[in-house]
């Protein structure tokens, strides 16, 4: 068994187990940590797939920035303890069943796909190539995504600004 295959199976197993732990951990902090494990495993896959740049970005952006933000919020809310009341049993069963059957369905319907042919690579996953493509072919979406950030930023500011007098303006619906 070539090393890549061993790595593939190992990373896959890690990713899936960690993912399962994400959703089954009682403690939100644990969930966050397990999610970071998943991201690391996925980054490993990226490396295996010759997407080195994305592997790094994934670690920096997701594991580094986003998950820290999550962790930060969880800490802020002081939710490190297990305080989530259980969802009703039926809801859980229904959720697992439907999610599982969706998986089975997708797998069943996509089982006849071809293999990745050949092993050559012109190095598209490297930062140089990607940078070139991004700033030549994809400069317009890149610029446009700035609007996205701008609006996210404005939005976060609007929502985050402290406002006084909280009223229970909750009438009957």
């Amino acid at each position: 068994m070539p090393i890549t295959e061993i790595l593939f199976w190992a990373l896959s197993a890690a990713a899936i187990i960690a993912a399962l732990l994400v959703i089954f951990s009682k403690n939100p902090v644990h969930s966050v940590l397990w999610l970071i494990v998943v991201f690391f495993a996925i980054s490993g896959h990226y490396v295996l797939l010759n997407a080195q740049f994305l592997a790094i970005v994934n670690m920096i952006v997701y594991a580094g920035a986003i998950m820290v933000l999550f962790l930060f919020v969880i800490m802020l809310m002081n939710m490190n303890a297990d305080q989530e009341p259980n969802k009703s049993k039926w809801m859980k069963i229904a959720g697992v069943l439907s999610g599982g059957s969706l998986m089975l369905l997708l797998v069943a319907s996509l089982k006849n796909s071809q293999a990745i042919a050949g092993g050559g690579d012109a190095g598209i996953g490297l930062i140089q190539q990607l940078g070139k493509t991004l700033f030549s072919e994809y400069v317009v979406p890149f610029e446009i995504s700035s609007v996205l950030f701008l609006s996210a930023m404005v939005g976060a500011v609007i929502l985050g600004k402290k406002e006084k007098n909280l009223t229970e303006a909750d009438s009957t619906n």
């Binding site: 969706l102 369905l105 069943a108 319907s109």
Partner: protein
Amino acid sequence: MNGMIKFGYLIPLLPLIGFLINGLGRNILSKKAVGIIGSGVLIASFVCSLFIFNQVAAVGYKTQVLFLFNFIKTAGLDIPFSLQFDQLSALFLLVITGIGSLIHIYSTAYMHEETAPHFARYFAYLNLFVFFMLILVLGSGYVTMFIGWEGVGLSSYLLIGFWFGNNNYNNAAKKAFVMNRIGDLGFLLAIFWMLSQFGSVTYTGVFEKANTIPVSVLTGITLLMFIGAMGKSAQIPLYTWLPDAMAGPTPVSALIHAATMVTAGIYMIARSNALFTLAPISQNVVAIIGISTALLAATIALKQNDIKKVLAYSTVSQLGLMFLALGVGAYTAGVFHVMTHAFFKALLFLGAGSVIHAMHHEQDIYKMGGLKTKLPLTHFTFLIGCLAIAGIPPFAGFFSKDEILTAALNKSVVYYILGVITSLMTAFYMFRMYFLTFHGNFRGTDDQFSHVHESPFAMTLPLILLAALSVIGGWVGIPAVFIENGHLLADFLEPIYAAVQHESTGMHLSHSMELIMMAVVVILIIVSILAAKSMFAKEGLKEEESSTFGKMLENKWYVDELYNSIIVQPVNHISSFFSRIIDTKIIDGAVNGVGKLIHFSARQMRLLQSGQVGSYVLIMVISIIIFFIFQMFWKI
């Protein structure tokens, strides 16, 4: 078109004009003016009729049709509005306008108590009736006849309910109209059938082709027509309206419910003799219905105490005899009896009217008696009428009734015997009424008695004239037994039946045999008159009826009750059931149910909107799964 016939349209037009003037000017015209106009137009019409009759009676006269305008001419229908002048219509013209005139004159006095507007309304209705009756007999086709047919029904309705303040009268009017309508539906269907078979509804158009049509079809058509005749001429089973129709003013009863309108059915069948002769089944039906009605009505009349009711049932009975005549193919006899009956029945009604007038609207014969002295003229004319209807020679009724009986005998002995029994009963109940009214002691209050007085001239004049006619009216149809070729009427009417070959079946009586039978009948009649005299001439107060049979008769065989329970009540119940249950609960309930269903499903469906994100997402995922299954694995 020549002679007077060019102006034939005047005959119906004049009463119409009278109707319009009296109707529209009812608030302006004085009673006198109304009376003059109302009677005047009829007399004028009568004069015209005389001219026409004169022309028609001329030898070699050919039927003439006066075309007025196209009534309906489109889409394959060609129905002209035209008048036909022939022997039959001319005869009826005379009867209608003649008796009509007399009754108009009579009415001027009889209705004098009414206020001017109502007086005018009365004359307007009466004129309207005459107009429609004239249209009925003059029309040259069945549609025109139908127009008059329904028109007279309308006038009858209006006149029966003339005193509209009284709801019993209104109910009687309604009953008359509705029963007539039942018959009219039959007539209408007959017209449609004729239209589809003959393509025409004019008499000429129909009769020409009558021979080419299958007998079964003719039977159907004639039976439907006869249903119409049943309604109008008060035959079983549609006769119960006529006694009730006595709610109207008495002259109206005389004119409409005795002399003219009710004979429309006879006119119709006589007119359609070409069809009936070809449909023996229908003829038999007519005869059977006729004689049954005659008998039934006669039995009921035996026990009636209302003077007008007795006359009404007698009318029904006499009409039955006329149908018997038609049914056995003796059309002339039928028409002859129409004519004589018109004379003496109008006379009797007017006489009764005179009595009622004198008695201040008392109609119960048990509350009368001994009026002979107080009302001499009325008494005398009334007696003539009774003799005429009883069939005592040489009064008018004798000849016509005799002719019917002879014709019935020709067909079947049963008809004859039943006819004779009817005649005997007729004589009996007529004289019962006569004796109770005019003989014996007065049974009303003294106050009433002191006010009894002979009627004014305007009322007695028609009585006298009609009495005269009741005496001599029969002489136009003297049977061959007495004078060979003495039957002027038969000769006169001969052209009407030209199209039909007379086929006489059954036995032919010799003259002597006929004479003997005639004598026997007359003797029997006299015996029954005497019986009536012995029973009622000295009669005191009415006795309570004890026998079941008598009660049955008194209550008119409970036919009204029967109709009420098998027709009127069910219809009302069905109507209420349809309205309350089917319409509101079922049909509308279904409609509203759709709305309720939507409301209900709205209420249920909105529960899906639970507010829980989890369940929302769950439903989304499940539906994605379903779509996947559908798209990927459900290869249809």
